[in-house]
């Protein structure tokens, strides 16, 4: 029987990225028959990672982007790294998947099973009550409907399953999690750590918390990090967490999952008598055929932009402006982190030291601004953290000189001097006017409206960037490093690939789209658990929070189904 023949399920999950994978796993493990819909192609773990073990010389252009590809990925190429030969197949063709920009917005994404969980940065940082309480205390936007204690057990559950390596710090605003052994700091990074500890009372350097396996805990079908640092290509060892390596196989093992790739969900069907959704309408991306699937509960995990686009497109008499959009906030409050600001330096000494292996992780300096005390208070709101690394230079150190001949060649065989760099990742406030919306005048290949962006960083972010740069310079100078240079490159919304906030959670249906359980306030059997739900952006890399909120929401949904609260069939 093909999966088109079964029309009724207990649950439908839209999207297979970091949130969709978790929704699929948790729903299936709760015993619910679950249809998982993905708009892109199938990607099987290991066998569909074509570049995973290729070396630079195995690529025709030695990993560089060629002209023919760059024409099809002009917007994806704004990142500067994703469209290289090593990873271009994980990102969309911008000509087939166009979008519109009132202001520049870098919408970087891939359409395939696993989504961006294959290419994510793997940094796993918990939010704290400093983050959950900030909007309320500062009277910005609306309050989060949850606090740290609501999400903490779910952070535990997620970390235990995905495997996070890291070091415990005991900082209340940077909560510790369940960690496997931390990866090491090289000798220059360790020197910087010591100097920071000597020079500052308010800040610390630690290795980042990454979803790469270390230690001796068993994770089914996965092995420890081999330090190849080629995560973005997909890992044949399953050493980092992705939907493909972890959650989808777990869902598959239950026998409760039906996976349907090439399925573009364009509409959630709403029944005004029941006040519930009854299913979804799907276009087959390859055949253009239309299908309808029904379920008791629907999980929107298509991404911050795509889930909200789906809700905006799901209009009805009851919801003329999009499903669950009584508040008018759907599509608004779009946020991303701003970055690409910090400093670089060179470090003398340590010429007799090196490292072995390629660590797929950076070090981290947790937030130290606006922690609630007078001393850390700034002229801007919220804060930022630094991510960085030190390394010995290779042949590239000779780019900006004119030397040539045998001496140059022999010199470049040896490791060069040490250099170090850090970049800030800063919080962006939720602004109602930063938004996405649908353009019905410009349709895509499947007759669906295209998405338009009108979003920018504002005064608070710009003020914060000044502080980021000057603190980065000061920290390097006070550490005694040389050639300290600050930088502040243009940072456009979307470029950090941490977009969030377009269907925010809140206590009041008049000012928010989702309730404290990630349910659409007015359509309780529709849950949105990807980045769209975020009420503020915090400064932390957000994926861990999406996973925890998804697991928590599925737990809630499964209970509702048991209590027969979602009887829509």
């Amino acid at each position: 029987m093909s999966n088109n023949d079964i029309k009724h399920y207990d649950a439908i999950v839209i999207g297979t990225g970091i949130s969709g994978g978790w929704a699929a796993k948790e729903l299936c493990e709760s015993g619910l028959k679950t249809l998982v819909l993905e708009r892109g192609r199938m990607v099987n773990h290991v066998v569909d990672y074509p570049t995973a073990t290729m070396d630079p010389w195995d690529f025709k252009y030695r990993e560089l982007t060629n002209n023919a590809d760059s024409k099809t990925q002009e917007k994806q190429a704004r990142t500067g790294y994703v469209t290289k030969e090593t990873s271009k197949h994980w990102f969309v063709n911008d000509l087939i998947h166009p979008y519109n920009e009132d202001k520049r917005f870098d919408w970087i994404r891939g359409y395939h099973v696993g989504g961006r969980s294959i290419t994510w940065g793997r940094q796993c940082l918990r939010l704290s009550d400093l983050d959950f309480e900030a909007n309320k205390k500062e009277n910005i936007a609306i309050d989060w409907p949850i606090r740290y204690q609501d999400i903490a057990p779910w952070y535990d559950k997620v970390e235990e399953f995905i495997g996070v390596s890291g070091e415990k710090m005991g900082l209340s605003h940077f909560p510790d999690g369940i960690f496997s052994p931390p990866m090491g700091l090289n000798c220059v990074e360790d020197e910087f750590r010591i100097k920071i500890a000597d020079n500052y009372e308010d800040r610390y350097l630690t290795i980042g918390r990454f979803a790469n396996l270390t230690g001796d805990k068993t994770h089914l079908g996965r092995s420890n990090c081999q330090y190849r640092n080629r995560c973005i290509r997909g890992c044949p060892f399953g050493a980092y967490f992705s939907s493909n390596s972890s959650t989808l196989p777990a869902a598959q093992r239950t026998g409760n999952m039906v996976m349907r790739p090439h399925s573009i969900v364009h509409r959630v069907i709403y029944d005004d008598t029941l006040k519930l959704a009854t299913g979804v309408e799907v276009i087959d991306a390859e055949t253009y055929e239309k299908f309808t699937f029904s379920a008791k509960v629907i999980f929107c995990c298509a991404s911050t932009i795509a889930s909200t686009a789906l809700l905006l497109n799901s209009t009805s008499k009851r919801f003329p402006n999009g499903l669950g959009n009584d508040s008018g906030e759907l599509g608004h409050n779009l946020m991303d982190h701003h970055f690409k600001v910090g400093a670089t330096a060179t470090v003398n000494g340590f010429d007799d030291k090196y490292y072995k292996g390629r660590r797929p992780a950076s070090f981290h300096i947790p937030r130290f601004r606006n922690l609630g005390d007078e001393k850390s208070k700034q002229s801007f709101l919220r804060g930022y953290g630094f991510q960085g690394s030190a390394s010995r230079t290779n042949w590239k150190r000779a780019i900006n000189e004119l030397s040539f001949g045998e001496e140059l060649k022999n010199k470049l065989f040896k490791p060069g001097p040490w250099e170090i760099g850090i970049t800030g990742f800063g919080e962006c406030l939720p602004y109602h006017e930063n938004r996405m919306y649908l353009n019905y005048k410009k349709l895509d290949e499947w007759g669906q409206p295209t998405i338009a962006f009108d979003c920018e960083f504002k005064e608070n972010e710009m003020k914060m960037r000044k502080d980021i740069q000057s603190e980065a310079i000061k920290m390097f100078k006070s550490a005694g490093f040389n050639n300290v240079k600050g930088y502040d490159e243009p940072s456009f919304a979307g470029n950090a690939i941490h977009e969030m906030g377009t269907a925010r959670m809140g206590l009041d249906p008049k000012t928010s789209v989702l309730n404290k359980n990630n349910q659409v306030h007015s359509v309780l059997n529709v849950y949105v658990t990807d980045g769209a739900c975020m009420t503020s952006s915090a400064y932390q890399n957000p994926s861990l929070t999406y996973m925890a909120l998804t697991a928590r929401a599925v737990n809630h949904a499964a209970k509702q189904i048991k209590k027969q609260n979602f009887n829509n069939g």
């Binding site: 070396d55 090491g184 990090c225 330090y227 042949w395 001949g405 490791p415």
Partner: protein, 206 residues
């Protein structure tokens, strides 16, 4: 080069030998010591000839591999065809033209008749300068094309620095250098954060 050597190289690289016009051209130009033994895709014969000489001077063969051992001229030809945006290609071609003219003026002959020594002399005139002057050159090259007054120096340096950059890039990302000279460790298995450099030796290739 000996004709038999050329034939040997050709048959190795192509697997067979046929008397195509380009092959005949290579054979007939052996007297002028043509260093091009592959089919050019973007560069003209004289442009390829000069590029091959320059890459050989930048990364010469010695007791370790040189640019020509890892096919750097071919690599530069390929990326000019497929990778380099149109405007940069035009700058490269302008630079190539000016460089050829300089050569002709200086040595009173066509570049195709140039010797290694002559190309070395001309390259040294541009590259063997104080580090202060080098910095000045890099600063100068950041100016946009329209604002340039000394166009001759601009195009020549753009051209030479392009060749130097892609010689280094191609060389250090080549299989032979990456696996035979540099430290090649495809699956390290562990991360040792701080060890004596002597335990590792050369820089990592990947």
């Amino acid at each position: 080069m000996d004709r038999r050597d050329v034939l040997k190289t050709m048959s190795l690289s192509l697997g067979y030998v046929i008397a195509t016009p380009s092959l005949l051209k290579i054979l007939s130009s052996c007297e002028t010591r043509n260093n091009i033994q592959w089919k050019l895709q973007f560069l003209s014969t004289s442009q390829g000839f000069v590029v091959a000489h320059l890459t050989d001077l930048i990364l010469p063969s010695s007791n370790t591999l040189g640019a020509k051992d890892v096919q750097i001229p071919q690599f530069i030809d390929l990326i000019l065809k497929d990778l380099i945006p149109k405007n940069e290609k035009e700058i490269f071609l302008k630079g190539s033209l000016v460089f050829h003219l300089k050569f002709k003026k200086l040595f009173k002959k066509d570049v195709l008749k140039g010797s290694k020594k002559e190309f070395s002399a001309l390259l040294s005139a541009y590259f063997n300068i104080t580090s202060e002057k080098q910095n000045h050159i890099f600063e100068f090259l950041r100016t946009s094309e329209e604002d340039i007054i000394d166009t001759e120096s601009y195009y020549i340096y753009k051209y030479l620095i392009f060749i130097r950059y892609y010689s280094l890039f191609g060389y250090f990302t080549s299989k032979r250098v990456g696996t035979e000279i540099l430290n090649y460790d495809p699956i390290p298995g562990s991360f040792e954060a701080c060890i004596p450099v002597l335990e590792v030796g050369n820089v990592s290739s990947i």
